[in-house]
């Protein structure tokens, strides 16, 4: 019986070459190394090798010295998120044991772990750190290198334990944001509610409104929204009730209509510091997340002194009934328009717009398990997606060994993938089907006429 080993994070390290200029002091460069169990010698050697690779590549490409390195057993990605600070992520390539000439050999499947996946995982690990800690250089300036090391350790030793890189795919690469389809008036109501909250509590500088696992409004900047949404999804939204899902009482019982969620690491305090751009400045804010049923209101609060229980109480009293009312309205709206929801489309499709980071895909939804696709298919999509990063425009039609069809399209900043699992269809039929989908889904945007 052949055994199979999935891709896994082998190592992750952060280093700063300028911290050691003399031979014999190389250990000073190491800011963080995962796994911590590795011997110092090994850490220094690996970092030295990465440094050498980067420096070597700089000769040929000064701007983007070295992005990834493939070996037989690993893939390695490099990132310089802040000047002079480097991060490296090493991932093992999945392998399986086969019998070759009556000998047991390990076969490595390089295609099963894409460069783009490793790079995205690395970038994301930095983004998450920055969201909760601010920039590394910023910490170094205020708390010295030792302070930075401590912060990196607190954050990353926990972070990497929870990362399952083998489950990463096209969606982790795109990091898109699904938007809740609402009509103009319903959307305006949500927006006016957010305005009301922000003008009533002037300490609240920014607000993000999510329903189910879809975004409705974000007052953050786009990149911050993307990162924050990822965090929110992982920590809360993937368990959040869907507005359409049955079995949720339409009106929660009791006077406490809503509640604060997302406790910070220490627990209890129910608010977390996050660093987001406010008025073009990376600013630490306290994050309060209040939820009523599927609706989640994330508030970024800035105060000189810490907002006490009184603030929480006042805001809770204010939000509870109002958000309750709005939630009921959204729920009614969503159930009225259930049939038009893209999540209900029976296509295995992915649509992504780089410009607003909007993603639409029934494959994302937890409620469409019948649309599951095989890991191979997912790999193929991830691969196609990486190819399309380099293209401005194009169309690809693929017939796979398993007799599936994949159609990929890109026009400007929008890309679209669709997978057909029906057997015995020909090229013309596939083409016609894609035309129909485009007409139905994209008739009101400039996308592939």
């Amino acid at each position: 019986m052949a055994t199979h080993q999935e891709a896994a994070v082998k190592s992750f390290f952060v280093y700063c070459p300028e911290l050691s200029t003399k031979e014999g002091t190389e250990h000073l460069k190491v800011l963080f190394y995962f796994p911590d169990t590795a011997q110092l010698n090994r850490k220094i050697r690996n970092i030295g090798l990465c440094e050498a690779l980067v420096n070597f590549c700089k000769t040929f490409s000064p701007d983007k010295p070295c992005e990834t390195v493939h070996t037989q057993k690993t893939k390695q990605a490099f990132l310089e998120p802040e000047p002079g600070i480097w991060m490296t992520l090493t991932v093992t390539i999945p392998c399986s044991e086969t019998i070759h000439n009556s000998e047991r050999v390990l076969e490595y499947h390089e295609h099963l772990i894409q460069d783009s996946v490793v790079q995205a995982a690395l970038q994301r690990s930095y983004n998450m750190f920055k969201l909760f800690n601010g920039t590394m250089r910023g910490i170094e300036a205020t708390q010295s290198v030792e302070g930075l090391k401590k912060r990196l350790d607190v954050f990353y030793s926990r972070y990497w334990k929870n990362i399952d890189i083998a489950r990463h795919n096209i969606f982790s690469v795109l990091q898109g944001i699904p938007f809740l389809p609402l009509d103009k008036y319903m959307y305006l109501k949500v927006h006016c509610f957010v305005n009301l909250v922000e003008t009533t509590f002037r300490q609240i500088k920014r607000t993000v409104f999510v329903c189910g696992d879809q975004l409705v409004w974000s007052g953050l900047e786009q990149e911050d929204t993307r990162i924050f949404y990822q965090y929110l999804y992982d920590s809360w939204l993937r368990h959040n009730p869907n507005p359409e899902a049955s079995g949720i009482p339409s009106v929660p019982a009791g006077p406490n209509t809503g509640s604060f969620i997302l406790e910070d690491e220490t627990g209890g305090k129910k608010n977390t510091w996050v660093y987001v751009m406010i008025n073009q400045m990376l600013t630490p804010s306290r994050l309060f997340v209040y939820a009523v049923g599927p609706c989640v209101l994330c508030m970024f609060v800035q105060t000189d002194d810490s907002p006490g229980d009184d603030f929480i109480k006042r805001i809770s009293v204010f939000l509870g009934p109002r958000l309750m009312h709005l939630t009921t309205e959204i729920r009614d709206f969503v159930s009225r328009n259930r049939s038009q929801s893209v999540e209900k489309q029976p296509y295995r499709m992915v649509y992504f717009n780089e410009m607003n980071l909007a993603i639409k895909s029934p494959l994302l939804s937890r409620y469409n398990s019948y649309l599951s696709i095989t890991q191979d298919m997912m790999c193929l999509l991830t691969q196609l997606n990486a190819e399309y990063d380099k293209l401005n425009e194009g169309e690809t039609v693929i017939r796979t060994i398993a007799d599936y069809w994949i159609v990929a399209r890109k026009n400007g900043h929008r890309r679209f993938f669709v997978l057909f699992t029906q057997k015995d269809v020909n090229f013309a039929e596939v083409n016609e089907e894609v035309r129909k989908i485009c007409q139905k889904e994209f008739s009101n945007i400039y996308f592939f006429d």
């Binding site: 305006l188 006016c192 009301l196 410009m355 400039y446």
Partner: protein
């Protein structure tokens, strides 16, 4: 001008002065023609005073004793009617001949209670102690014909010359008998079912309804009979006003009750559909708006006063005695510059709520002591400043004829930095504003509407409220956007199409403050409606926000009328194949300019691209004209040469 905070009702001087009571043998005000009759010594000379100076004249009437009532008919010729005896009325056509006729009464034993002209000079209604009689009048021959007579034991009667309603109170009971006059029918009088007024359990059984406590008034287009009565809880509990809605063809129904906390004598006026209660003892007045939802008690609504009772605004009258004139009556001076210097001008400050005051419907106040007449007016600015609930202010102002400017002022105060109103209140105010706008624009499909007098259009709101604040440095842009979006939300609520300048305002503020992502979300949800100017504005922001191009292109696409713009954008960005594909998809292949495409392709310095584009149009030429060559008017000569230059081929 009333000082704000102490008055909300003012007296507006009517340019009509009459001889004070002490100088005459009786003064009679005719509400229908707005004329004052002052009977002189000897009962044969009567001064007639009107608002228009040319309508002031002296009359000589037959001397038959004390004048009990005198008035002109409406219409032409004007017929003078005088009652000097208890049981007859005389009619004189004073402007032509001297013919005079005494209206014959069938039953001379009945005394005349009152008489009124109905429909100009067409009919006369005569009320005697036992009958109500309608006569038609032939104005040229001054002959009268009895059309209809009702037998009622009349105690007193009131008549509304504007609504043509007669209310008769019968003797011995507290019954009101309404009569309604309808022009066009041969007997234009309808007797409506009588109304019984319960005067309350604590009242003396012998007490009866008094003429001074009953009024006919029109509120929001409906006729009401108002009755002042002591609260049923007893005399200590103050009075209340019962409003009976009087339909044209049915029984009157008690529909509103106005609560008054003060006991004692009151009288009523109506100003701009508000009921004003004047209380003589405390020298204050209160206003009531029956369109405000009151507390429901059965089928009636109970209302409290809109504001606390306050006195009328004090007023000064400036009079100049004209000695040399033929009619030596004083003239009212309103020119302030004259008042200070002219010694012939005397200024008087009439006592407010004086016992010499007489109130006429709807809003006439007469001071018999000084011989002046006022009209009661609202000071809307004071009212809006005194009311604390801004939603009620907007509702009240929307239903007042002069409320428009004050509404703008209220909104401006709500937006004033430092005193900014809560968005939920503003939202409710916008909803009222737009509800009124919707109704006054003729949409009737949104249920029963309130009787709005005015509304504010989007253009007016934008120009007078939003724009003055959008440039102010102390106005936080977030609040400005929030207010505008709240306004747009409200417009959407009532299905009113939002005008483009509101979107532009939002876009400009968001772009100025670099809130591109927020703008992007608005566009994504189509909150900001598509238009060519907005798409062009977006396109111009491409350098500061790269997704702007995509947004603009989508907008052009949705507009459906901007294909040439899309092609231009694609060509200018060197996306020539995309442009061709777009042309094909939108069925414009036969009409687009080949030169534009060839020029763009030639500029790209890509031979294969140029070849492709050239061949595409050659194909079109073949299809349209069966020849590969370009016609002369397409001006493609230089590109034909370029093609031959690059790829060779046959010369033409």
């Amino acid at each position: 001008m009333a000082s704000i905070g102490s008055h909300y009702l003012e007296l507006e001087q009517v340019p009509l002065v009459f001889d004070p009571l002490e100088k005459t043998k009786g003064s009679f005000f005719d509400q229908g023609n707005f004329q004052m009759f002052c009977v002189q010594e000897g009962f044969s000379k009567v001064k007639v005073k009107s608002v228009k100076e040319e309508d002031n004249f002296n009359l000589t009437i037959p001397q038959r004793g004390q004048v009990r009532s005198i008035k002109f008919s409406g219409g032409q010729p004007k017929i003078l009617s005088i009652q000097t005896r208890s049981n007859s009325v005389e009619f004189v056509n004073v402007f032509s001949s001297d013919r005079e006729q005494t209206l014959p009464l069938k039953q001379h034993q009945y005394d005349v209670v009152g008489f009124h002209w109905v429909f100009r000079n067409d009919y006369v209604i005569l009320i005697t102690t036992s009958t109500v009689e309608l006569y038609s009048c032939n104005s040229s021959s001054l002959s009268f014909k009895l059309l209809k007579s009702f037998n009622i034991n009349v105690s007193w009667a009131i008549f509304s010359p504007t609504e043509y309603i007669l209310i008769v109170c019968s003797k011995g009971g507290n019954f009101l008998h309404p009569f309604y006059f309808r022009s066009g029918s041969s007997v234009p009088i309808t007797r409506l079912p009588k109304i019984e007024i319960e005067l309350g359990p604590s009242r003396d059984l012998k007490a009866s309804l008094k003429e001074r406590d009953v009024f006919v008034m029109t509120l929001y287009g409906h006729v009401y009979i108002a009755v002042i009565r002591t609260s049923p809880q007893g005399p200590g509990f103050g009075s209340e006003v019962l409003l009976f809605h009087l339909p044209h063809d049915g029984a009157a129904k008690l529909s509103h009750i106005l609560n008054m906390d003060i006991p004692g004598r009151c009288t009523l006026s109506v100003v701009d559909n508000l009921v004003v209660v004047h209380h003589q003892a405390s020298k204050t007045s209160m206003i009531y708006d029956i369109s405000f939802g009151g507390s429901i008690s059965g089928s009636t609504l109970k209302h409290n006063a809109v504001l606390a009772p306050l006195p009328l605004s004090p007023t000064v009258v400036h009079l100049r005695q004209r000695s040399g004139s033929k009619t030596p009556s004083p003239k009212i001076i309103t020119d302030d510059s004259l008042i200070a210097h002219d010694s012939s001008i005397t200024s008087i400050t009439p006592e407010l709520y004086s016992s010499k005051w007489i109130f006429f419907q709807p809003n006439v106040v007469i001071d018999a002591q000084y011989g002046v007449i006022w009209l009661l007016k609202l000071n809307l600015t004071s009212i809006s400043n005194m009311m604390t609930d801004k939603c009620n202010v907007i509702q009240l102002l929307l239903m007042r004829s002069g409320g428009k400017d004050v509404i703008v002022e209220v909104f401006r105060e709500c937006l004033e930095p430092g005193r900014q109103a809560n968005l939920s209140i503003l939202g409710a105010m916008f909803d009222q504003l737009n509800h009124a706008f919707k109704i006054l624009s003729g949409y009737h499909d949104i249920g029963p509407g309130k009787p709005y007098q005015n509304s504010i259009s989007q253009r007016e709101f934008y120009t007078n409220v939003l724009v003055p604040f959008s440039d102010r440095k102390d106005m936080p842009y977030q609040y400005m956007v929030a207010v505008t979006i709240e306004y747009i939300r409200s417009l959407n609520k009532f299905g009113i199409q939002v005008e483009h300048f509101l979107f532009e305002l939002v876009m400009v503020i968001l772009i100025e403050n670099k809130c591109f992502y927020q703008l992007h979300q608005f566009l994504q949800y189509h909150v900001i409606c598509d238009s060519k100017p907005l798409a062009t504005l977006l396109l111009s922001k491409e350098l500061v926000y790269s997704p702007a191009t995509q947004l603009a292109m989508d907008m052009f696409k949705r507009l459906g009328t901007a294909d040439s713009e899309i092609i231009d954008i694609l060509l200018s960005r060197g996306q020539i194949l995309s442009a061709l594909r777009f042309v094909k998809a939108s069925d414009k292949v036969d009409t687009v300019s080949a030169r534009l495409f060839l020029e763009a392709a030639a500029n790209e310095d890509d031979h294969m691209l140029f070849y492709t584009v050239y061949k595409f149009f050659e194909e079109r030429n073949m299809r349209l004209r069966k020849r590969a060559e370009f016609p002369a008017d397409e001006q493609c000569k230089e590109y034909e040469e370029l093609f031959i230059n690059w790829f060779g081929g046959k010369k033409t």
